[in-house]
């Protein structure tokens, strides 16, 4: 009687054991930032990947906290196969060894990627920009260059700024006349940091600091500020909801997001296959239909429609003067400058 029960049970277990890897092959678990961004990825990347390969994409969302990825790995149960990370997270995660190495031979020729968007731990996917924005419904003749951010005589009123020294110190130096390619050289010296803070001092009393990306367009819409630095995708989304916000592309600061594979992902080959598909030139170009973040591959440009190109930070007409955020600089000096920034804010 015991045997009669045990044998089918064992067989069933054996079948299950055989069946599990087959099931796992049928899906890939992808974690991204949620919101409009992930919605765009869903439409342009995830759905077409499932259509092309039959592999389901199981989505997860997070707020970009590297701690969450690190905790998942240290608990020994990596449930995410591919994760979308921002540049500081990639750098830090690469340093801390929480991401797998990327096999670039499989992904493609690195020279097709924009400068600074390839890494041994991550594959660049989109480029976004931090730029000055203003409300066309409230100002007839708004700011046109980055120096206008600091010109309180010409444009009286409050200014929205990201509550983070990164981008603000760069904007300060750019407005102070430092050429984009020398910004980090100047910022590497104590005098350069002093100079940036001195420039920020000139608008400190009219600064309103935002922390979450959604706050910047909200500050503009509520009339709290006359202009604000903002992430270009947020401004685009506000315009889709009926606002008339304009972006000053002059001296925008570019930064990028990456696909990375957390250590211990269950099937490295499947993760790599997904990334290879997700950064295909046509797939990258398709994403721009849903959200105005520039494709990182030069070869994707030909698939982007002219209407979408007008909103992309990477389009030739918008990328006249641009600075790429140097995340290695911030990894080295961020701790010290952030503390100084905090004391400066409280003064």
């Amino acid at each position: 009687m015991n045997h009669a029960f045990t044998r089918p049970a064992l067989t069933a277990l054996g079948l299950l054991a055989l069946g599990t890897p087959a099931l796992a092959e049928g899906s890939v678990s992808v974690m991204s930032f949620g919101g409009a961004y992930q919605e765009a990825q869903r439409r342009a990347v995830f759905e077409s990947y499932t259509a092309a390969t039959g592999i389901r994409v199981e989505e997860q969302e997070y707020g970009g906290e590297i701690a969450r990825i690190a905790a998942m790995i240290s608990s020994g149960n990596t449930t995410v196969d591919v994760v979308d990370v921002d540049a500081p997270t990639l750098l830090q995660g690469c340093d801390d060894g929480i991401f797998e190495r990327i096999d670039w031979a499989q992904i493609g020729d690195q020279s097709d990627w924009l400068d600074g968007t390839t890494s041994e731990c991550g594959v660049g996917t989109i480029v976004y920009s931090t730029a000055l924005a203003w409300d066309g419904a409230k100002l007839a003749d708004g700011p046109a260059v980055i120096a206008d951010l600091f010109d309180t005589a010409k444009f009286p009123g409050k200014r929205g700024l990201w509550k983070n020294p990164a981008t603000n110190l760069e904007f300060a130096l750019l407005a102070d006349g430092v050429p984009a390619d020398q910004v980090y050289e100047v910022l590497s010296t104590p005098e350069g940091v002093d100079r940036a803070f001195a420039k920020l001092d000139t608008i400190k009393s009219s600064a309103v600091w935002w922390e979450a990306g959604a706050q910047a367009p909200q500050l503009l819409a509520s009339g709290e500020v006359v202009m604000t630095t903002a992430w270009n995708g947020r401004i685009y989304n506000a315009n889709k909801e009926g606002q008339d916000f304009r972006i000053v592309w002059d001296n925008q600061i570019l930064d990028s997001n990456y696909w990375a594979i957390p250590k211990g992902a269950k099937d490295l080959a499947a993760s790599m296959a997904f990334i290879e598909y997700a950064v295909g030139p046509e797939v990258l170009a398709a994403t721009t239909k849903y959200i105005p973040y520039g494709p990182v591959r030069v070869s994707a440009a030909e698939y982007v429609t002219p209407e979408d190109a007008a909103n992309l930070p990477t389009s030739p007409q918008n990328m006249t003067v641009a600075l790429t955020l140097d995340n290695a600089f911030w990894a080295d000096n961020g701790d010290e400058i952030r503390k100084r920034f905090t004391t400066w804010l409280a003064q």
């Binding site: 340093d95 009339g223 709290e224 290695a328 990894a331 000096n333 503390k339 905090t342 004391t343 804010l345």
Partner: protein
Amino acid sequence: MTATPGISPDIGRIRTFVAVRRAARPARRAAFSLALPLVGFLLAAFVAPILYLLVTAVDNPETRSVLPQTLTALEGWDGSSTPEEPVFAALAADLRAAQESSTAALVGKRLNYEIAGMRSKVLAAARMVAAMEAGPYRDTFLEKDGLWAAPETWSVIRRNGAELTPFYLLAAVDLKQSATGGLESVAPDQAIFLAVLGRTLLVAGMVTAFTLILGYPVAWVLTIAPKGVAAVMLLMVLLPLWTSLLVRTTAWVVLLQSDGVINAILMGLHLTSEKVQLIFTRIGTVTAMTHIQLPFTILPIWSVMRSIPATQLRAARSLGAGPVSAFWRIYAPQTLPGVVAGCLMTFILSLGYYITPALVGGPQDQMVSNFISTYINRDLNWGLAAALGVVLLVVTMAIYGLFLRLVGADKIRLG
């Protein structure tokens, strides 16, 4: 019964006591076994994380694990000059191994906390060493970066060979170890945490004071109001407790913003001609926090007030006390246990506030928790986050202890 010689009455009493204890042991064990699940839960969910927090605040594994040979070679170093070739050779060997196991960045990040820029210099040195066939290394290192010639660099490395480090705890109170081993303050533009701690205490204190001023009369009215009215009032006190903290905070954003409800009313009534800056200020933060904390102060006071017979006030009046005197000398002292319990609860909860100051406050209103969250989530600097947590814990315990000392444990009652 006469006392047996040699056995004093005292010992007899002790024997009786022990016998009674023994007889009651099964009952005590049964009671304790019922409490076991809770004890286990507290150990796992409360005691263990706090111990882990304390350990993380002083743990210092990076340098020991990545640069073991260098630390051994540094034992003979005089501490005031650039080390000789053997130290550099040991460092090269360590970095070569680190480059292979990609752990160079770990130690680079750890040293970067103490010397800004160290991270990339360690990484660059690791890459350089990996490309070299053989030594001598000293000159190559010195040529690569002047930092390797500085004795300070080496004393930081040597100091971090220790298993435990006071670095994070010192940093959490704006101190650091000097090259000679003594304590010194960090540079003025790097000193933030004491100010943040002071601000956290100040905001928590202000919120506690305001909830008491607003809540005490409410609690009193609740006790004397007719049943029906009191029930509705109590519901209004409790309702905010049942609403998500985030929702209440965002509601305050809507009210306080420059084009918000409050400014519209002020302007509409011509009370002010210009918009008043309410959001992103200390006033906004304290207002929103006071609203959120009110129930926590009101409920203990109310429940103590309910137990005070109303007849006492009448008796005091009939014996000739004036209304103020009767209230102040008869009623108020009896509500003290509830006041202390409510204030203590609000004060301690306010110390840990995070979301409300982040959304409603300005940069001058960020509290210790905001910094802890940044160091955990963004910087992965769990050592410093843990150290800030330890400082907050110690301050909270100290304040609790001070309260107990001042009013006595028996004076704190929730009802």
